[in-house]
């Protein structure tokens, strides 16, 4: 039997200066209680890897507001004026990565690949400093794999083995991030007995999940 922890205990597992993948898309599929616990702990100097920084007061935006973040790796910050202001003021470093490239870099990081070749970004600012590789007359960027110290996930359901099931568009980066971090912490809306999530519906095996923060804990 595995024991769920509370969000406060989970926040202690994320040291200052850590690289942290935070799942979600504009806050949808982001583990809000884990984010809030990091803010409450007063985390500092984090490198946050996520699709976007949502909005002030929402999802990763809460970490930005509270000054927890030194660096952001994301595809989009246009919905969060605080991120933009802190970037222009030099308080936060922002590395912009095309969304599909971000997903594939994380996937590669979790899949043991040395990188990915993508046509996305060739001839644009996304190619700066990247190797261009020509194959069969087509140009590709060599994009390195991406891993993190910690991944923070949000699931709709978790069972007692920590198997995870996601729902609709709250899935987004959760399944790929689950494979790409040394420590995986998941937050779930519902906890159900083993077997309630059938094998075909398990999107992330509990084998990959180190800690679970159950509802209301």
């Amino acid at each position: 039997m595995r024991i769920a922890i509370n969000a406060e205990e989970a926040a202690k597992l994320v040291p200052d200066g850590a690289s942290v993948m935070v799942a979600g898309f504009l806050g949808v599929g982001t583990p809000e209680r884990l984010v809030e616990a990091l803010v409450a702990r007063g985390a500092r100097g984090l490198t946050v890897i996520g699709n976007d920084t949502a909005r002030p007061g929402l999802g990763i935006g809460k970490l930005i507001d509270a000054g927890c973040v030194a660096r952001v790796v994301a595809s989009h910050i246009g919905t969060n004026p605080v991120t933009q202001r802190k970037m222009l003021a030099g308080e936060i470093q922002v590395d912009l990565v095309p969304q599909g490239t971000l997903a594939e870099r994380i996937r590669a990081g979790g899949a043991g690949l040395g990188g990915v070749l993508t046509p996305t970004g060739v001839g644009t600012a996304a190619a700066d400093g990247k190797r261009v590789i020509e194959l069969d007359g087509r140009e590709f960027l060599l994009e390195p794999p991406l891993r993190a110290d910690v991944a923070l996930l949000h699931a709709h359901e978790a069972d007692h083995f920590f198997n995870l099931a996601y729902r609709l568009t709250a899935t987004n980066f959760n399944p790929v991030m689950a494979l790409a971090a040394d420590c995986v912490i998941a937050e779930a809306d519902e906890v159900v007995p083993i077997g309630v999530i059938p094998p075909d519906a398990v999107r992330t095996s509990g084998i990959l999940v180190d800690y679970l923060v159950a509802r209301g804990r």
Partner: protein, 227 residues
């Protein structure tokens, strides 16, 4: 019938929807296109945050926080919809499975290149999924106002950072429909009541004008909708 510029653009772009195709609509103006799918045309819309087969906003009070489009607005899933993770979403986009994307634009140049993700020093939004969409979709339609604050958005050469090296398929504005070709920008259609001279005056780049330029057709307004 009164119609604003955005509605006109959306109703013209809607005629580019082909039956039984997969289409991604960008945030903002392109989202409006979903309202004007012509009768008899069935398309599946994909949203890069991870769903294929969705409809516009659900009835009031029926919103689900786990079901939104890429702009974060609540949507409804249709029978037969599929939800998936971000890596799968962009496999669809880059892998040749997406028939068309409709995107907003800041600039399009004479070579048909698009800039739509940043204005150095002013707006640093990030590219989101735009670079993948322009590289991966079979057809890229840019839906934008012809000019911004009196400045042409169709220019000889991009002054803003490009979204991709690829030549886009079609530009639809409140004044014209323009197709980038090997020879240059071809003026295909003009908006109702707009003259070729007015389009030329509002366009920063040279255009090819061949014979009489027809007025742009538009998709009908849906039944029961205003306008």
């Amino acid at each position: 019938m009164s119609m604003d510029a955005k509605e006109l653009i959306a109703r013209r772009v809607a005629l580019e929807l082909h039956n039984r195709t997969l289409v991604n609509l960008g945030i903002g103006l392109p989202t409006l296109v979903a309202r004007y799918v012509p009768p008899g045309i069935r398309v599946a819309f994909q949203s890069e945050n991870g769903i294929l087969g969705f409809d516009t906003r659900p009835p009031e009070g029926m919103e689900n926080p786990d079901l939104t489009d890429a702009g974060g607005s609540p949507i409804s899933a249709l029978p037969g919809a599929w939800s998936f993770d971000s890596a799968t979403s962009f496999a669809l986009i880059r892998g040749g499975h997406l028939d068309m994307t409709v995107l907003g634009g800041l600039q399009v140049d004479a070579a048909g290149r698009l800039a739509n993700w940043m204005v150095p020093g002013r707006m640093v939004a990030g590219m989101g999924g735009a670079m993948d969409l322009v590289v991966g979709a079979r057809r890229v339609v840019v839906a934008m106002q012809h000019a911004a604050k009196g400045e042409p958005k169709i220019v000889p050469e991009l002054t803003l950072p490009p979204t991709a090296a690829r030549r886009i398929t079609l530009v639809v504005t409140d004044l014209a429909v323009i197709e980038p070709t090997d020879e240059g920008l071809l003026l295909r259609e003009r908006a109702p009541g707009v003259t070729v001279d007015q389009i030329v005056a509002a366009t920063g780049a040279q255009m090819l004008i061949r014979g009489t330029v027809p007025e742009m057709p538009i998709a009908p307004a849906p039944e029961g909708a205003p306008g």
